[in-house]
Amino acid sequence: MTQPYPVLGLLTLAAAMLATPALAQEKVLRIAMTAADIPRTLGQPDQGFEGNRFTGIPMYDALTHWDLSKADAPSVLIPGLALSWAVDAKDKTKWVFKLRPDVKFHDGSAFSADAVVWNVRKVLDKDAPQFDASQVGVTASRMPTLRSARKIDDLTVELVTSEPDAFLPLNLTNLFMASPAHWQKKFDATAASLPAADRARAAWTAFAADASGSGPFRMTRFVARERLELAPNKAYWDPKRTPKIDKLVLLPMPEANARTAALLSGQVDWIEAPAPDAAGAIQARGFKVYFNQQPHVWPWQLSFAEGSPWLDKRVRQAANLCVDRTGLLKLLGGMMAVPKGTVPPGHPWWGNPKFDIRYDPEAAKKLMAEAGFSAAKPVKVKVQISASGSGQMQPLPMNEFVQQSLKGCFFDVQFDVIEWNTLFTNWRKGAKDPSANGANAINVSFAAMDPFFAMVRFVSTKTFPPVSNNWGYFGNAEIDKLVADARNAFDDKARDAALAKLHARIVEEAPFVWIAHDVGPRAIAAKVKGVVQPRSWFIDLAPLTIE
């Protein structure tokens, strides 16, 4: 009998030859994130905005989205799963959202007003079976006035706030829609003998390992702490954002040098935040370094507590005039933007402040002299900083640079260097708390994507600690009125105009020393095409292609 093996071998070889071209053409994009773990995949990511960037926006949609398609204009709000929205003219705590039809979750179930109500209840209603405490922190705090949702019909939903709040549509970019039907299947699979809360927790854990959103990518493989693999959602409702790559692989790599080495060795195609001193080597090897203005402010936040040296506006403005930001830009190898305020000129909220933030040590010294300070009698300031931390860029060399810069304008700067998480916790406690350790300024970078995050929480008398992050207790009736005007301006243009007035006054009053804006550098292989880095914390992975 003829041995079958040679024939089998030939067939196997033929199959391999046929398969190999197909395999070789699989377009896989491998991204190394700075996070130490895969951001949570159950719809409300953790790990800050890097979580939203990689396991929020690619896998899920929200009612409203940020426009991530332009690199040369501010990122503004656009419709997501909601086609339109309007506040009730008679009762401005009620908003009506018209939803997008024919949208399906990855599991095939339909998106509808019921799904919106379900998702609102998952973080706001403790009695809801799907309520998840672990998602509350990252969601509720970003939409502080939302209270409830009510279905009007299958494609219309009413959202209710605790007070009139024109910021709600912007806040809703953070509330991603998870599939209620898919979650229910996970819930039904849990042991009925468990208490309801434990069943819900187990259901969310199972959901996170096998997630279902409506986004352009769907989960195909999840290995905790190691990798997340996503495949295109070919039935995505926006043809312009239906992915053209075959697979997206997300890898946590918290160490900058390790990420850089992974890129240079070809193990990954894209790294977030490359090691700053490796930019030259990365570009020399043919990779592209992308960066752009980002709503990411790196400041000193000043204390207005009794006895603070910053109570004198001349001192605050002098500090802003005495930071050599161009020199700092050089120190960081070009990886920062020079700030003129919280938002840049040209932004809808810019407002043309009368105080021009620039490097003018002579003007600074003049102000300091008027305030009674000199080289022989410098003002003593103490700043609480961290040694590292997410979004903190290079805190030690940057702060030391600023210290040297300010020395020339009669500032004697001392630092209280503490661990990042501790600094974060202290930030919430305020300048008057013992945790401030005598500091009258604090260096915590922040996202400036929406008005509350960018401005309101730092300047309103209603956001003094422990309510929110007005660490320095800055605020007055005038600023509160500007905040209220913005909150009650329900027309987009009117709201932006009101926010512009607020921003202008904030810059003039200088409750911050604006030092740098981060530019979100990332290094990407040349074969990855279609990369648009918008002026945002986020980036759209859906339109990318690989050559």
Binding site: A36, T205, E226, N421, R428
Partner: protein, 317 residues
């Protein structure tokens, strides 16, 4: 012997209770908010208080300790606050990954350390001694995470011979003992082996030199014993002390290296601890430290027993 064993096991039990108490206390003594991973800084005080109650952090420390210990006795180390996943399976998976790395690092470190130590001890004050000693000193002096980064730059980024990071082409889960997977072990294992190699080399050098200087060696030579026979005597005499050192080094390796595993993104206990520390994920931190500490206690128990078997002169009262 049996009495000694039972006594040793008896000592280990209160040690384990003490370890659990220390693990719990140390973690709670550190400043910072245990809910920081799920509570952004702009969260209201009301929200923070609500979550504190939901997660049980509003209870007193003794209450929390008793609840945690009771669950731990039943194999439940709680749930990670950051990820929501049960801690015990995560820790055990990480232990498995670290074990794989640590065992290879142990083999390399002990073999190289043993070789250098014996060579240096036998050929004192000659060039093999100086070379072996230099390698041993470098092993304990060079920061191993720096060495790891240099090796990655050379062997991955520049030469492209080995992968820079990760625990396999597909992650650690689908491990196979083939080159496609083994190549991911090489650089981290070599890096991890450097410190134990240096310590063992220096310890053995001193031990061997001391033993060779003893009178009984002269006696053995006078009796006409071959070099190999003398070598066996030297090994047997050096073994108890060397074993103690090796046992400690093995314990450290099995505990995982936070720095090495972070540099190489190796999903072991060190990587897990790093993540838990930065996220203030108390359940994960407590669970990981407890498992590693208990492992250490058991390992020391085994080393003590082995030492007694190897050297009957060791009297334990």
């Amino acid at each position: 012997m049996l009495a000694y064993l039972l006594r040793r096991i008896g000592y280990a039990l209160p040690i384990m209770v003490g370890v659990a108490l220390v693990c719990f206390s140390l973690v709670h003594l550190a400043p910072g908010d245990p809910l920081v991973s799920i509570l952004p800084p702009d969260a209201s005080a009301e929200l923070a208080a609500q979550l504190k109650t939901l997660y049980g952090f509003d209870r007193s420390y003794p209450e929390q300790f008793v609840a945690w210990s009771w669950r731990a006795l039943h194999g439940d180390l709680g749930q990670s606050i950051a990820s929501g996943r049960p801690v015990a399976p995560e820790v055990l998976t990480a232990v498995g990954n670290t074990l794989r790395l640590a065992l290879l690092a142990t083999l390399i470190g002990f073999a190289a350390g043993g070789l250098f130590g014996f060579v240096a001890g036998y050929f004192q004050r000659s060039w093999p001694d100086r070379l072996a000693s230099l390698l041993g000193v470098l092993g304990v002096s060079v920061p191993h995470y720096w060495l790891g980064m240099v090796m990655v730059i050379v062997f991955s980024a520049l030469l492209g011979w080995l992968p820079a990071t990760g625990a396999g082409p597909d992650g650690a889960g689908n491990w196979a003992w083939d080159w496609a997977h083994f190549q991911y072990l090489v650089l981290p294992a070599l890096t991890m082996s450097v410190i134990p190699m240096g310590i063992i080399a220096r310890t053995l050098r001193a031990l061997v030199a001391e033993i060779l200087a003893q009178e009984f060696i002269v006696g053995l030579k006078a009796k006409g014993l071959t070099d190999l026979g003398i070598f066996c005597h030297v090994v047997k005499n050096a073994a108890p002390t060397a074993l103690a050192v090796m046992g400690l080094q093995l314990g450290y390796l099995l505990g995982g290296s936070i720095l090495i595993e972070t540099v190489f993104s190796w999903p072991g206990t060190g990587f897990l601890l790093n993540s838990a520390i930065f996220q203030r994920d108390l359940p994960l931190l407590q669970g990981t430290i407890l498992v590693l500490a208990l492992f250490f206690v058991v390992l020391n128990l085994l080393v003590d027993v082995l030492q007694t078997l190897l050297d009957p002169r060791i009297a334990r009262r």
